[in-house]
Symmetry: C2
Subunit: 337 residues, 2 copies
């Protein structure tokens, strides 16, 4: 029902509108793209596209702008992901390879992505549940307090202070630490709860309350941190867009971890770029924004997701290219460390 020319018209409308930020009319279209037909013909096509809901007029007798549905069609069928230039690729590589720990990797990634796309970048820390335990550490910090430190294979470090019911001797702490390590090292986080259930029975009775306290905090941490950690950067790029109402909403959403998580969406296959346009977003207040996201990870294993948030009026091919490229490089960096 949409012939080739109508699709070409839609594509042209999206591209023009994205680059000029102004409703595009029939005359401007034939001027800028050589479609080989007259404005009148385009007008007819436009009327059809509008009837089908792909484009709309801000007011009568203004040009057309794409609707969310129009962008969706554009992304799905009318465009291809635009690969980055060689220079950009090299820039990514050198910038990311300078990182020396996980915080640094994530921090650099999110800034890089923001700069590359000139939009707001969002990066999720590698998932805990899909990682495994590298090491467990218990450090006495005061009488009746120990610090529990969990180190994952991805280099992520989690910490919690534990109040132990009774004072704990250094030997007891050492004992517990050794026990935890032999019991948990190499274990996937998802398997930890099962593995520790019988642990209290392995310690001497006087250490048992302390062990119980440690374990309960450990399990608690796994659950709580399950709501993963997310960071963002490039909020300044929001200023370019002429949001005014929306603007505050978007900033508020960005500061809510939970919203940010939902934003990136469920993890599809690693490095498949997914796009969520306007009203497809779950969150109120982000109804006029689009999200381009991809998973990243090592090999086949998707560890977490990262992406970009911007106005629906966005350069989708370019943004998707940047997101995909960055996701791949981050995976490589993580694999190498």
């Amino acid at each position: 029902m949409l012939d080739d020319r109508k699709l070409a018209v839609l594509r042209a409308i999206v591209e023009d509108y994205v680059s000029t930020n102004e409703p595009v009319g029939s005359k401007a279209l034939v001027d800028r793209h050589n479609l080989g037909v007259s404005p009148a013909t385009i007008r007819n096509d436009m009327a059809v596209l509008e009837e089908q809901g792909y484009i709309q007029q801000p007011h009568t007798s203004a040009g057309r702008i794409p609707t969310d549905k129009g962008y969706r069609l554009f992304v799905d069928r009318l465009s291809t992901i635009k690969p980055l230039s060689k220079a950009e690729r090299r820039a990514i590589e050198t910038f990311l390879s300078g990182a020396y720990d996980l915080d640094d990797v994530v921090g650099r990634t999110v800034r890089l992505l923001a700069q590359l796309t000139r939009q707001v970048a969002v990066v999720q820390y590698p998932s805990l549940t899909r990682s495994y335990v590298r090491h467990v550490e218990l450090v006495p910090v005061a009488t009746g307090r120990v610090l529990l430190v969990l180190i994952t294979n991805t280099g992520r470090v989690e910490q919690r202070v534990i109040e132990t019911p009774a004072e704990l001797s250094d030997e007891s702490v050492g004992h517990l630490r050794a026990l935890l390590n032999t019991c948990l090292s190499g274990l996937a986080f998802g398997d930890v709860p099962g593995a520790v259930s019988d642990l209290p029975e392995k310690v001497s009775p006087e250490e048992r309350p302390a062990a119980a306290a440690v374990l309960s905090v450990l399990l608690e941490t796994l659950v709580e941190k399950h709501e993963e950690k997310v960071v963002f950067a490039g909020a300044a790029n929001l200023a370019a867009v002429d949001f005014s109402r929306t603007f505050r909403d978007v900033l508020e959403a960005l500061e809510e971890q939970v919203v940010l998580m939902r934003l990136l969406g469920e993890s599809a296959d690693s490095s498949t770029v997914t796009v969520r346009i306007g009203t497809e977003n779950p969150d109120e207040g982000l109804r006029s924004t689009s999200v381009v996201a991809a998973g990243y990870g090592v090999g086949d294993l998707t560890l977490a997701r990262l992406g970009v948030l911007g106005p629906t009026r966005m350069d989708y091919p370019g943004t998707m290219g940047a997101v995909r490229a960055v996701a791949r490089y981050v995976g490589q960096i993580l694999a190498g460390s």
Copy 2:
């Protein structure tokens, strides 16, 4: 040269302008404050205040607004810090005491401060150089790689991956770890460089290259992380102000660690609230904002600073009260953990 009434007029102008965001005229002033004199008299006073540079007119025949110099006088001599209400204090206490690790304390603090002041809050992590070493941990993560984890008395955890020149046996790692701990535990970070200088000589020759690698990274970390970590929250509150140009500049400044650090300024005495108004700010682009900051710490020791950034047109007494209160509570929390 400024009599009491002129000062009262300046105070009234600041208060009215802050609450209404509109230039305030002589008539409005006598209506809202019972100054006991006529508008004409106030006009004369205003003329003097303007001549001295404390207030200015946006245009001829408009009301007056305070200049930076006017705000400065207001803060220094015409206002007192406004203590928080009992309810607010209790809210702070309960909100902060739920925190379970340093990240959480800092995260809660910055969000709390943002909400309390309805402005952008900035919190610096407790300084490394003023902390001391609680524990050092070495964890093998792959062949030829060890993770160095530093735990401070304030609960801060720093991590770095180290490439060891040769493959390292688990025993060697254990050996090094023990050595580092006996050598460094309880040491102030500033004293670490001196203490480790003779350390390589204490290990067996075959472990020496690895030990050297670990040490160089350790020292590097101390230097690099010296540029401290700063976080902010409440950027959404910027939307309330009608920045438009400035706005982007401010957001950009917020995402620059270095600028953020300079923003909080040099550490004065703990819990003394300092105010920097408009052009007093070092950073271009923050010339139309004010910063209210205070140090926080345990006892007499100032660990770091926290504060609030907002428009020069700001409720200084209230903001200063909130900053001071939060700084104190954070100190208490840190002392207790």
